[in-house]
Symmetry: C2
Subunit: 293 residues, 2 copies
Amino acid sequence: MSWRDGYIAVDWGTTNRRAYALDGSRNLIDSFEDELGLLAVPSGGFEAAAADIRERLGDRPMLLAGMVGSNRGWREAPYAAAPAGARDLAEAIAWIEPGRTGIVPGVSQRGAAGADVMRGEEVQVLGAVAAGLVPADCVICHPGTHAKWILMEAGRIASFRTMMTGEVFSLLSKHSILADQLEGDGAADDAFRAGVAEALAGRELLSALFGIRARHLLGEEVGDPASYASGLLVGSDVRAGLGLYPDRPLALIGRPELCELYRAAMAEAGREAPEVDGAEAFVAGMNMLTQML
Amino acid sequence: MSWRDGYIAVDWGTTNRRAYALDGSRNLIDSFEDELGLLAVPSGGFEAAAADIRERLGDRPMLLAGMVGSNRGWREAPYAAAPAGARDLAEAIAWIEPGRTGIVPGVSQRGAAGADVMRGEEVQVLGAVAAGLVPADCVICHPGTHAKWILMEAGRIASFRTMMTGEVFSLLSKHSILADQLEGDGAADDAFRAGVAEALAGRELLSALFGIRARHLLGEEVGDPASYASGLLVGSDVRAGLGLYPDRPLALIGRPELCELYRAAMAEAGREAPEVDGAEAFVAGMNMLTQML
Protein backbone atom coordinates (compact mmCIF):
# COMPACT_ATOMS: atom_id res chain seq x y z
CA MET A 1 0.00 0.00 0.00
CA SER A 2 1.46 3.35 -0.99
CA TRP A 3 0.80 6.84 0.34
CA ARG A 4 -1.26 7.50 -2.80
CA ASP A 5 -3.87 4.99 -1.68
CA GLY A 6 -4.48 6.70 1.63
CA TYR A 7 -2.70 7.01 4.96
CA ILE A 8 -3.02 7.84 8.64
CA ALA A 9 -1.97 11.25 10.00
CA VAL A 10 -1.21 11.54 13.72
CA ASP A 11 -0.75 14.73 15.75
CA TRP A 12 0.90 13.25 18.84
CA GLY A 13 1.53 15.65 21.67
CA THR A 14 2.57 15.56 25.29
CA THR A 15 -0.88 15.07 26.78
CA ASN A 16 -3.04 13.76 23.93
CA ARG A 17 -3.04 12.46 20.37
CA ARG A 18 -5.32 12.94 17.38
CA ALA A 19 -5.33 10.47 14.51
CA TYR A 20 -6.99 10.83 11.09
CA ALA A 21 -7.52 8.27 8.32
CA LEU A 22 -7.45 9.72 4.79
CA ASP A 23 -8.35 7.92 1.57
CA GLY A 24 -6.56 8.17 -1.79
CA SER A 25 -8.44 11.36 -2.62
CA ARG A 26 -7.48 12.79 0.78
CA ASN A 27 -11.02 12.63 2.06
CA LEU A 28 -11.30 12.15 5.82
CA ILE A 29 -12.61 8.63 6.44
CA ASP A 30 -12.31 8.36 10.19
CA SER A 31 -10.56 9.96 13.16
CA PHE A 32 -10.24 9.78 16.92
CA GLU A 33 -8.69 11.70 19.77
CA ASP A 34 -7.55 10.27 23.08
CA GLU A 35 -5.34 11.11 26.02
CA LEU A 36 -2.54 8.73 25.16
CA GLY A 37 -0.01 11.55 24.90
CA LEU A 38 3.72 11.08 25.46
CA LEU A 39 3.32 11.23 29.21
CA ALA A 40 0.86 8.31 29.16
CA VAL A 41 2.94 6.01 26.94
CA PRO A 42 5.10 3.64 29.01
CA SER A 43 8.80 3.31 28.22
CA GLY A 44 9.18 1.26 25.05
CA GLY A 45 5.45 1.45 24.45
CA PHE A 46 5.28 3.45 21.21
CA GLU A 47 5.27 0.42 18.89
CA ALA A 48 2.17 -0.91 20.65
CA ALA A 49 0.57 2.55 20.83
CA ALA A 50 1.03 2.95 17.06
CA ALA A 51 -0.29 -0.54 16.36
CA ASP A 52 -3.37 0.45 18.33
CA ILE A 53 -3.90 3.38 15.95
CA ARG A 54 -3.75 1.03 12.94
CA GLU A 55 -6.21 -1.33 14.58
CA ARG A 56 -8.67 1.51 14.93
CA LEU A 57 -8.07 3.28 11.57
CA GLY A 58 -6.86 0.49 9.27
CA ASP A 59 -3.49 -0.87 8.19
CA ARG A 60 -2.14 2.09 6.23
CA PRO A 61 1.10 4.06 5.98
CA MET A 62 1.35 6.42 8.95
CA LEU A 63 2.87 9.88 9.21
CA LEU A 64 3.28 11.40 12.68
CA ALA A 65 4.13 14.89 13.90
CA GLY A 66 4.43 16.76 17.18
CA MET A 67 6.27 15.94 20.39
CA VAL A 68 6.36 12.27 19.37
CA GLY A 69 9.49 13.31 17.45
CA SER A 70 11.18 14.88 20.49
CA ASN A 71 13.80 13.31 22.72
CA ARG A 72 10.96 12.35 25.05
CA GLY A 73 8.97 10.72 22.25
CA TRP A 74 9.15 7.63 20.08
CA ARG A 75 12.25 8.63 18.15
CA GLU A 76 13.99 11.98 17.92
CA ALA A 77 13.44 13.62 14.53
CA PRO A 78 16.19 16.28 14.33
CA TYR A 79 14.86 19.77 13.72
CA ALA A 80 14.84 21.32 10.23
CA ALA A 81 16.47 24.74 10.44
CA ALA A 82 14.42 27.86 9.69
CA PRO A 83 13.85 29.22 7.11
CA ALA A 84 12.06 25.97 6.27
CA GLY A 85 9.37 24.94 3.80
CA ALA A 86 7.37 21.80 3.17
CA ARG A 87 10.07 20.16 1.05
CA ASP A 88 12.63 20.60 3.86
CA LEU A 89 10.31 18.81 6.25
CA ALA A 90 9.47 15.99 3.83
CA GLU A 91 13.15 15.32 3.16
CA ALA A 92 13.97 15.22 6.87
CA ILE A 93 11.28 12.76 7.96
CA ALA A 94 12.66 10.31 10.53
CA TRP A 95 11.59 6.86 9.37
CA ILE A 96 10.69 4.25 11.95
CA GLU A 97 10.06 1.92 9.00
CA PRO A 98 10.88 3.40 5.59
CA GLY A 99 7.80 4.10 3.49
CA ARG A 100 5.46 2.88 6.23
CA THR A 101 5.88 4.84 9.48
CA GLY A 102 7.66 8.20 9.71
CA ILE A 103 7.90 11.25 11.97
CA VAL A 104 7.92 14.81 10.61
CA PRO A 105 10.70 16.93 12.17
CA GLY A 106 10.09 20.13 14.04
CA VAL A 107 11.70 23.45 13.09
CA SER A 108 14.53 25.19 14.94
CA GLN A 109 15.90 28.70 14.84
CA ARG A 110 19.36 29.87 15.90
CA GLY A 111 21.39 33.02 15.77
CA ALA A 112 20.29 36.64 15.86
CA ALA A 113 16.58 35.82 15.58
CA GLY A 114 16.85 34.00 18.92
CA ALA A 115 17.06 30.31 19.76
CA ASP A 116 13.63 28.75 19.37
CA VAL A 117 11.94 25.47 18.51
CA MET A 118 8.55 24.13 17.40
CA ARG A 119 7.11 20.65 16.94
CA GLY A 120 3.68 20.21 15.39
CA GLU A 121 2.83 23.81 14.55
CA GLU A 122 5.03 23.65 11.41
CA VAL A 123 2.68 21.11 9.81
CA GLN A 124 -0.33 23.30 10.56
CA VAL A 125 1.08 26.58 9.23
CA LEU A 126 2.54 25.06 6.07
CA GLY A 127 -0.72 23.18 5.55
CA ALA A 128 -2.79 26.34 5.98
CA VAL A 129 -0.73 28.10 3.31
CA ALA A 130 -0.86 25.10 0.95
CA ALA A 131 -4.63 24.87 1.29
CA GLY A 132 -5.01 28.59 0.64
CA LEU A 133 -6.46 29.20 4.09
CA VAL A 134 -3.89 31.92 4.86
CA PRO A 135 -1.67 34.05 2.58
CA ALA A 136 1.83 32.85 1.69
CA ASP A 137 3.20 36.03 3.28
CA CYS A 138 1.75 36.70 6.72
CA VAL A 139 2.23 36.42 10.45
CA ILE A 140 0.53 33.44 12.04
CA CYS A 141 -0.30 33.44 15.72
CA HIS A 142 -0.67 29.91 17.09
CA PRO A 143 -2.02 29.98 20.69
CA GLY A 144 -1.25 27.21 23.13
CA THR A 145 0.82 26.05 26.09
CA HIS A 146 3.78 27.47 24.19
CA ALA A 147 2.21 30.02 21.86
CA LYS A 148 4.01 30.78 18.59
CA TRP A 149 4.23 33.84 16.37
CA ILE A 150 5.40 32.66 12.99
CA LEU A 151 6.54 34.83 10.10
CA MET A 152 5.65 33.18 6.79
CA GLU A 153 7.48 34.37 3.68
CA ALA A 154 6.73 32.93 0.25
CA GLY A 155 4.92 30.07 1.96
CA ARG A 156 7.90 29.10 4.14
CA ILE A 157 8.56 29.47 7.85
CA ALA A 158 10.98 32.42 7.89
CA SER A 159 11.30 32.99 11.66
CA PHE A 160 9.27 32.60 14.83
CA ARG A 161 9.01 33.37 18.51
CA THR A 162 7.56 31.25 21.32
CA MET A 163 5.74 32.63 24.38
CA MET A 164 5.12 30.53 27.53
CA THR A 165 1.63 32.02 27.80
CA GLY A 166 -0.47 28.90 28.30
CA GLU A 167 2.07 27.25 30.59
CA VAL A 168 2.32 30.31 32.87
CA PHE A 169 -1.48 30.43 33.12
CA SER A 170 -1.47 26.77 34.09
CA LEU A 171 1.31 27.29 36.69
CA LEU A 172 -0.62 30.16 38.26
CA SER A 173 -3.89 28.20 38.28
CA LYS A 174 -2.41 25.07 39.79
CA HIS A 175 0.47 26.08 42.03
CA SER A 176 0.47 29.80 42.89
CA ILE A 177 -1.04 31.88 45.67
CA LEU A 178 -3.74 32.73 43.07
CA ALA A 179 -4.78 29.09 42.66
CA ASP A 180 -7.88 29.49 44.84
CA GLN A 181 -9.14 32.35 42.69
CA LEU A 182 -8.28 30.97 39.26
CA GLU A 183 -10.93 28.38 38.51
CA GLY A 184 -11.47 27.28 34.94
CA ASP A 185 -9.89 28.76 31.85
CA GLY A 186 -11.68 32.10 31.78
CA ALA A 187 -13.56 33.48 28.79
CA ALA A 188 -13.42 36.45 26.43
CA ASP A 189 -15.57 38.55 28.76
CA ASP A 190 -15.26 42.04 30.28
CA ALA A 191 -12.71 40.87 32.87
CA PHE A 192 -10.62 39.34 30.08
CA ARG A 193 -10.73 42.56 28.07
CA ALA A 194 -9.75 44.57 31.16
CA GLY A 195 -6.67 42.37 31.56
CA VAL A 196 -5.84 42.70 27.87
CA ALA A 197 -6.15 46.48 28.04
CA GLU A 198 -3.76 46.69 30.99
CA ALA A 199 -1.24 44.47 29.26
CA LEU A 200 -1.47 46.43 26.01
CA ALA A 201 -0.87 49.62 28.01
CA GLY A 202 2.38 48.09 29.27
CA ARG A 203 1.35 47.15 32.81
CA GLU A 204 3.99 44.89 34.34
CA LEU A 205 2.66 41.32 34.47
CA LEU A 206 4.39 40.48 37.80
CA SER A 207 2.57 43.35 39.43
CA ALA A 208 -0.81 43.04 37.74
CA LEU A 209 -1.03 39.38 38.73
CA PHE A 210 -0.58 40.14 42.43
CA GLY A 211 -3.45 42.60 42.13
CA ILE A 212 -5.75 39.58 41.76
CA ARG A 213 -4.75 38.44 45.23
CA ALA A 214 -4.97 41.93 46.74
CA ARG A 215 -8.44 42.62 45.34
CA HIS A 216 -9.62 39.29 46.71
CA LEU A 217 -8.30 40.09 50.20
CA LEU A 218 -9.85 43.56 50.08
CA GLY A 219 -13.20 42.39 48.74
CA GLU A 220 -12.76 44.37 45.53
CA GLU A 221 -13.05 41.55 43.01
CA VAL A 222 -14.81 42.43 39.77
CA GLY A 223 -15.59 39.68 37.29
CA ASP A 224 -13.91 36.30 36.89
CA PRO A 225 -10.28 36.41 38.10
CA ALA A 226 -9.40 33.57 35.69
CA SER A 227 -10.64 35.64 32.75
CA TYR A 228 -8.70 38.67 33.97
CA ALA A 229 -5.48 36.65 34.45
CA SER A 230 -5.94 35.11 31.03
CA GLY A 231 -6.43 38.60 29.61
CA LEU A 232 -3.20 39.83 31.20
CA LEU A 233 -1.24 36.91 29.78
CA VAL A 234 -2.82 36.84 26.32
CA GLY A 235 -2.58 40.64 26.18
CA SER A 236 1.14 40.52 27.03
CA ASP A 237 1.60 37.85 24.39
CA VAL A 238 -0.32 39.78 21.72
CA ARG A 239 1.45 43.04 22.54
CA ALA A 240 4.84 41.41 22.12
CA GLY A 241 3.78 39.37 19.09
CA LEU A 242 2.31 42.29 17.17
CA GLY A 243 5.53 44.20 17.84
CA LEU A 244 7.73 41.48 16.36
CA TYR A 245 6.61 41.69 12.76
CA PRO A 246 4.51 44.85 12.36
CA ASP A 247 2.44 45.72 9.30
CA ARG A 248 1.95 42.18 8.05
CA PRO A 249 -1.36 40.39 7.46
CA LEU A 250 -2.29 38.31 10.49
CA ALA A 251 -3.84 34.87 10.85
CA LEU A 252 -4.81 32.72 13.81
CA ILE A 253 -4.39 28.96 13.71
CA GLY A 254 -5.12 26.61 16.58
CA ARG A 255 -7.79 25.27 18.86
CA PRO A 256 -10.95 27.31 18.27
CA GLU A 257 -11.50 28.13 21.98
CA LEU A 258 -7.98 29.56 22.23
CA CYS A 259 -8.25 31.41 18.92
CA GLU A 260 -11.37 33.13 20.28
CA LEU A 261 -9.38 34.57 23.19
CA TYR A 262 -6.62 35.81 20.91
CA ARG A 263 -9.13 37.26 18.47
CA ALA A 264 -10.67 39.25 21.34
CA ALA A 265 -7.22 40.46 22.44
CA MET A 266 -6.26 41.44 18.89
CA ALA A 267 -9.53 43.36 18.60
CA GLU A 268 -8.54 45.38 21.70
CA ALA A 269 -5.31 46.18 19.85
CA GLY A 270 -7.31 47.20 16.76
CA ARG A 271 -6.27 44.21 14.68
CA GLU A 272 -8.19 41.44 12.95
CA ALA A 273 -7.11 37.97 11.94
CA PRO A 274 -8.89 35.21 10.02
CA GLU A 275 -9.09 31.99 12.04
CA VAL A 276 -8.19 28.51 10.89
CA ASP A 277 -9.01 25.40 12.91
CA GLY A 278 -5.73 23.76 13.86
CA ALA A 279 -7.04 20.26 13.13
CA GLU A 280 -8.07 21.25 9.61
CA ALA A 281 -4.69 22.90 9.01
CA PHE A 282 -2.88 19.84 10.35
CA VAL A 283 -4.62 17.47 7.94
CA ALA A 284 -3.94 19.87 5.06
CA GLY A 285 -0.26 19.91 6.01
CA MET A 286 0.03 16.15 6.22
CA ASN A 287 -1.78 15.77 2.89
CA MET A 288 0.75 18.10 1.29
CA LEU A 289 3.72 16.29 2.83
CA THR A 290 2.51 12.84 1.77
CA GLN A 291 2.19 14.12 -1.79
CA MET A 292 5.95 14.61 -1.71
CA LEU A 293 6.66 10.98 -0.70
CA MET B 1 6.21 43.67 83.33
CA SER B 2 5.68 46.60 80.94
CA TRP B 3 6.99 47.18 77.43
CA ARG B 4 9.54 49.61 78.89
CA ASP B 5 11.30 46.76 80.67
CA GLY B 6 11.89 44.79 77.51
CA TYR B 7 9.84 42.64 75.14
CA ILE B 8 9.90 39.99 72.44
CA ALA B 9 9.55 40.90 68.74
CA VAL B 10 8.42 38.19 66.31
CA ASP B 11 8.49 38.28 62.52
CA TRP B 12 6.17 35.37 61.79
CA GLY B 13 5.79 34.46 58.14
CA THR B 14 4.31 31.70 56.05
CA THR B 15 7.34 29.42 56.07
CA ASN B 16 9.45 30.53 59.03
CA ARG B 17 9.60 32.78 62.09
CA ARG B 18 12.28 34.93 63.66
CA ALA B 19 12.05 36.00 67.32
CA TYR B 20 14.14 38.60 69.14
CA ALA B 21 14.38 39.42 72.86
CA LEU B 22 15.10 43.08 73.64
CA ASP B 23 15.92 44.57 77.04
CA GLY B 24 14.66 47.88 78.48
CA SER B 25 17.36 49.77 76.58
CA ARG B 26 16.35 47.96 73.38
CA ASN B 27 19.58 45.99 73.25
CA LEU B 28 19.25 42.62 71.59
CA ILE B 29 19.59 39.94 74.29
CA ASP B 30 18.77 36.81 72.36
CA SER B 31 17.11 35.62 69.16
CA PHE B 32 16.32 32.52 67.17
CA GLU B 33 14.92 31.54 63.79
CA ASP B 34 13.07 28.34 62.98
CA GLU B 35 10.77 26.92 60.32
CA LEU B 36 7.60 27.03 62.40
CA GLY B 37 5.88 29.32 59.90
CA LEU B 38 2.12 29.48 59.50
CA LEU B 39 2.07 26.40 57.32
CA ALA B 40 3.75 24.35 60.07
CA VAL B 41 1.46 25.44 62.93
CA PRO B 42 -1.43 23.01 63.41
CA SER B 43 -4.98 24.35 63.64
CA GLY B 44 -5.46 25.98 67.03
CA GLY B 45 -1.74 25.69 67.72
CA PHE B 46 -0.70 29.35 67.90
CA GLU B 47 -1.13 29.66 71.70
CA ALA B 48 1.30 26.80 72.19
CA ALA B 49 3.66 28.07 69.48
CA ALA B 50 3.78 31.50 71.19
CA ALA B 51 4.30 29.92 74.62
CA ASP B 52 7.26 28.09 73.12
CA ILE B 53 8.77 31.46 72.12
CA ARG B 54 8.44 32.75 75.71
CA GLU B 55 10.02 29.57 77.04
CA ARG B 56 13.03 30.19 74.83
CA LEU B 57 13.31 33.99 75.21
CA GLY B 58 11.74 34.75 78.62
CA ASP B 59 8.29 35.68 79.90
CA ARG B 60 7.96 39.17 78.38
CA PRO B 61 5.34 41.15 76.47
CA MET B 62 5.32 40.03 72.84
CA LEU B 63 4.64 41.97 69.65
CA LEU B 64 4.19 40.01 66.45
CA ALA B 65 4.07 41.04 62.79
CA GLY B 66 3.83 39.40 59.38
CA MET B 67 1.46 36.80 58.02
CA VAL B 68 0.61 35.71 61.58
CA GLY B 69 -1.92 38.57 61.38
CA SER B 70 -3.54 37.30 58.18
CA ASN B 71 -6.71 35.26 57.85
CA ARG B 72 -4.50 32.18 57.70
CA GLY B 73 -2.63 33.16 60.89
CA TRP B 74 -3.30 33.37 64.62
CA ARG B 75 -5.79 36.20 64.47
CA GLU B 76 -6.64 38.56 61.62
CA ALA B 77 -5.29 42.06 62.25
CA PRO B 78 -7.26 44.26 59.82
CA TYR B 79 -5.06 46.30 57.48
CA ALA B 80 -4.24 49.94 58.18
CA ALA B 81 -5.02 51.95 55.05
CA ALA B 82 -2.20 53.72 53.19
CA PRO B 83 -1.00 56.39 53.60
CA ALA B 84 0.04 54.97 56.97
CA GLY B 85 2.68 55.83 59.55
CA ALA B 86 3.93 54.21 62.73
CA ARG B 87 1.21 55.72 64.91
CA ASP B 88 -1.51 54.26 62.62
CA LEU B 89 -0.01 50.81 63.05
CA ALA B 90 0.42 51.11 66.83
CA GLU B 91 -3.20 52.18 67.26
CA ALA B 92 -4.46 49.28 65.14
CA ILE B 93 -2.61 46.48 66.92
CA ALA B 94 -4.84 43.41 67.30
CA TRP B 95 -4.50 42.29 70.90
CA ILE B 96 -4.56 38.61 71.71
CA GLU B 97 -4.18 39.65 75.36
CA PRO B 98 -4.18 43.41 75.94
CA GLY B 99 -0.79 44.78 76.95
CA ARG B 100 0.83 41.37 76.73
CA THR B 101 0.50 39.82 73.25
CA GLY B 102 -0.43 41.81 70.14
CA ILE B 103 -0.21 41.60 66.35
CA VAL B 104 0.81 44.59 64.20
CA PRO B 105 -1.56 45.07 61.22
CA GLY B 106 -0.43 45.08 57.61
CA VAL B 107 -1.07 47.98 55.24
CA SER B 108 -3.61 48.04 52.43
CA GLN B 109 -4.08 50.28 49.43
CA ARG B 110 -7.27 50.86 47.45
CA GLY B 111 -8.45 53.09 44.68
CA ALA B 112 -6.54 54.65 41.83
CA ALA B 113 -3.11 53.57 43.12
CA GLY B 114 -4.24 49.96 42.69
CA ALA B 115 -5.42 47.37 45.20
CA ASP B 116 -2.45 46.08 47.15
CA VAL B 117 -1.49 44.65 50.53
CA MET B 118 1.60 44.05 52.67
CA ARG B 119 2.21 42.27 55.98
CA GLY B 120 5.58 42.51 57.65
CA GLU B 121 7.38 44.87 55.29
CA GLU B 122 5.62 47.87 56.89
CA VAL B 123 7.46 47.30 60.17
CA GLN B 124 10.79 47.13 58.35
CA VAL B 125 10.38 50.26 56.23
CA LEU B 126 9.00 52.40 59.07
CA GLY B 127 11.77 51.08 61.32
CA ALA B 128 14.47 51.88 58.78
CA VAL B 129 13.23 55.48 58.54
CA ALA B 130 12.91 55.82 62.34
CA ALA B 131 16.46 54.53 62.83
CA GLY B 132 17.81 56.92 60.21
CA LEU B 133 18.91 54.06 57.96
CA VAL B 134 17.00 55.48 54.97
CA PRO B 135 15.63 58.97 54.23
CA ALA B 136 12.09 59.90 55.25
CA ASP B 137 11.33 60.57 51.59
CA CYS B 138 12.48 57.80 49.30
CA VAL B 139 11.47 54.69 47.37
CA ILE B 140 12.20 51.42 49.12
CA CYS B 141 12.56 48.23 47.15
CA HIS B 142 11.89 45.17 49.32
CA PRO B 143 12.75 41.94 47.40
CA GLY B 144 11.05 38.66 48.21
CA THR B 145 8.41 36.13 47.20
CA HIS B 146 6.14 39.13 46.74
CA ALA B 147 8.56 42.01 46.18
CA LYS B 148 7.40 45.50 47.17
CA TRP B 149 8.20 48.97 45.87
CA ILE B 150 7.21 51.40 48.60
CA LEU B 151 6.99 55.17 48.30
CA MET B 152 7.88 56.80 51.63
CA GLU B 153 6.78 60.40 52.15
CA ALA B 154 7.58 62.28 55.38
CA GLY B 155 8.42 58.95 56.98
CA ARG B 156 5.07 57.36 56.17
CA ILE B 157 4.04 54.67 53.67
CA ALA B 158 2.42 56.75 50.92
CA SER B 159 1.77 54.05 48.32
CA PHE B 160 3.25 50.78 47.11
CA ARG B 161 3.22 48.10 44.45
CA THR B 162 3.76 44.35 44.80
CA MET B 163 5.46 42.15 42.18
CA MET B 164 5.16 38.33 42.19
CA THR B 165 8.84 38.08 41.28
CA GLY B 166 10.05 35.53 43.81
CA GLU B 167 6.94 33.39 43.53
CA VAL B 168 7.14 33.20 39.73
CA PHE B 169 10.79 32.17 39.96
CA SER B 170 9.79 29.45 42.39
CA LEU B 171 6.92 28.26 40.15
CA LEU B 172 9.25 28.05 37.16
CA SER B 173 11.93 26.21 39.16
CA LYS B 174 9.57 23.67 40.67
CA HIS B 175 6.76 23.08 38.23
CA SER B 176 7.52 24.34 34.71
CA ILE B 177 9.13 22.81 31.64
CA LEU B 178 12.25 24.74 32.74
CA ALA B 179 12.46 22.91 36.08
CA ASP B 180 15.25 20.60 34.92
CA GLN B 181 17.43 23.56 33.94
CA LEU B 182 16.69 25.83 36.90
CA GLU B 183 18.73 24.44 39.78
CA GLY B 184 19.43 26.64 42.76
CA ASP B 185 18.66 30.33 43.10
CA GLY B 186 21.19 31.72 40.64
CA ALA B 187 23.71 34.44 41.43
CA ALA B 188 24.58 37.98 40.32
CA ASP B 189 26.85 36.66 37.56
CA ASP B 190 27.18 37.34 33.83
CA ALA B 191 24.13 35.22 32.99
CA PHE B 192 22.09 37.18 35.55
CA ARG B 193 23.22 40.49 34.07
CA ALA B 194 22.37 39.26 30.57
CA GLY B 195 18.83 38.50 31.75
CA VAL B 196 18.57 41.88 33.46
CA ALA B 197 19.76 43.67 30.32
CA GLU B 198 17.12 41.93 28.18
CA ALA B 199 14.39 42.79 30.65
CA LEU B 200 15.49 46.41 30.92
CA ALA B 201 15.42 46.60 27.11
CA GLY B 202 11.76 45.54 27.21
CA ARG B 203 12.09 41.92 26.13
CA GLU B 204 8.80 40.10 26.77
CA LEU B 205 9.22 37.79 29.77
CA LEU B 206 6.93 35.07 28.37
CA SER B 207 9.15 34.82 25.33
CA ALA B 208 12.56 35.22 26.97
CA LEU B 209 11.77 32.41 29.42
CA PHE B 210 11.05 29.93 26.64
CA GLY B 211 14.44 30.79 25.17
CA ILE B 212 15.97 28.94 28.14
CA ARG B 213 14.29 25.75 26.97
CA ALA B 214 15.14 26.30 23.31
CA ARG B 215 18.84 26.98 23.96
CA HIS B 216 18.99 23.82 26.06
CA LEU B 217 17.47 21.72 23.29
CA LEU B 218 19.80 23.26 20.70
CA GLY B 219 22.93 22.95 22.84
CA GLU B 220 23.37 26.73 22.98
CA GLU B 221 23.30 27.22 26.75
CA VAL B 222 25.61 29.93 28.08
CA GLY B 223 26.04 30.31 31.84
CA ASP B 224 23.67 29.23 34.60
CA PRO B 225 20.03 29.18 33.38
CA ALA B 226 18.83 29.86 36.94
CA SER B 227 20.89 33.04 37.06
CA TYR B 228 19.59 34.10 33.66
CA ALA B 229 15.95 33.42 34.63
CA SER B 230 16.46 35.28 37.89
CA GLY B 231 17.95 38.16 35.90
CA LEU B 232 14.93 38.27 33.58
CA LEU B 233 12.53 38.37 36.52
CA VAL B 234 14.45 40.77 38.74
CA GLY B 235 15.17 42.95 35.69
CA SER B 236 11.44 43.07 34.82
CA ASP B 237 10.69 43.92 38.44
CA VAL B 238 13.33 46.68 38.61
CA ARG B 239 12.32 48.14 35.26
CA ALA B 240 8.70 48.44 36.39
CA GLY B 241 9.62 49.57 39.91
CA LEU B 242 11.95 52.33 38.78
CA GLY B 243 9.24 53.55 36.43
CA LEU B 244 6.66 53.81 39.20
CA TYR B 245 8.25 56.63 41.21
CA PRO B 246 11.05 58.12 39.12
CA ASP B 247 13.64 60.59 40.38
CA ARG B 248 13.43 59.62 44.05
CA PRO B 249 16.25 58.39 46.27
CA LEU B 250 16.29 54.59 46.39
CA ALA B 251 16.90 52.14 49.20
CA LEU B 252 16.97 48.35 49.41
CA ILE B 253 15.67 46.55 52.49
CA GLY B 254 15.46 42.80 52.87
CA ARG B 255 17.41 39.59 53.02
CA PRO B 256 21.01 40.39 52.09
CA GLU B 257 21.28 37.67 49.42
CA LEU B 258 18.21 39.05 47.63
CA CYS B 259 19.32 42.66 48.02
CA GLU B 260 22.56 41.74 46.25
CA LEU B 261 20.63 40.57 43.17
CA TYR B 262 18.56 43.74 43.11
CA ARG B 263 21.63 45.91 43.63
CA ALA B 264 23.21 44.25 40.58
CA ALA B 265 20.05 44.79 38.53
CA MET B 266 19.80 48.43 39.59
CA ALA B 267 23.45 48.93 38.62
CA GLU B 268 22.57 47.69 35.10
CA ALA B 269 19.90 50.40 35.07
CA GLY B 270 22.44 52.99 36.22
CA ARG B 271 21.00 53.35 39.71
CA GLU B 272 22.41 52.84 43.21
CA ALA B 273 20.66 52.09 46.47
CA PRO B 274 21.95 51.78 50.04
CA GLU B 275 21.13 48.39 51.55
CA VAL B 276 19.57 47.74 54.94
CA ASP B 277 19.37 44.26 56.44
CA GLY B 278 15.70 43.40 56.84
CA ALA B 279 16.20 41.86 60.28
CA GLU B 280 17.88 45.02 61.57
CA ALA B 281 15.09 47.17 60.13
CA PHE B 282 12.45 44.89 61.65
CA VAL B 283 13.84 45.20 65.17
CA ALA B 284 14.13 48.99 64.71
CA GLY B 285 10.48 49.11 63.68
CA MET B 286 9.26 47.02 66.59
CA ASN B 287 11.33 49.13 69.01
CA MET B 288 9.66 52.25 67.66
CA LEU B 289 6.17 50.74 67.89
CA THR B 290 6.62 49.54 71.47
CA GLN B 291 7.68 53.06 72.49
CA MET B 292 4.15 54.13 71.54
CA LEU B 293 2.49 51.57 73.82
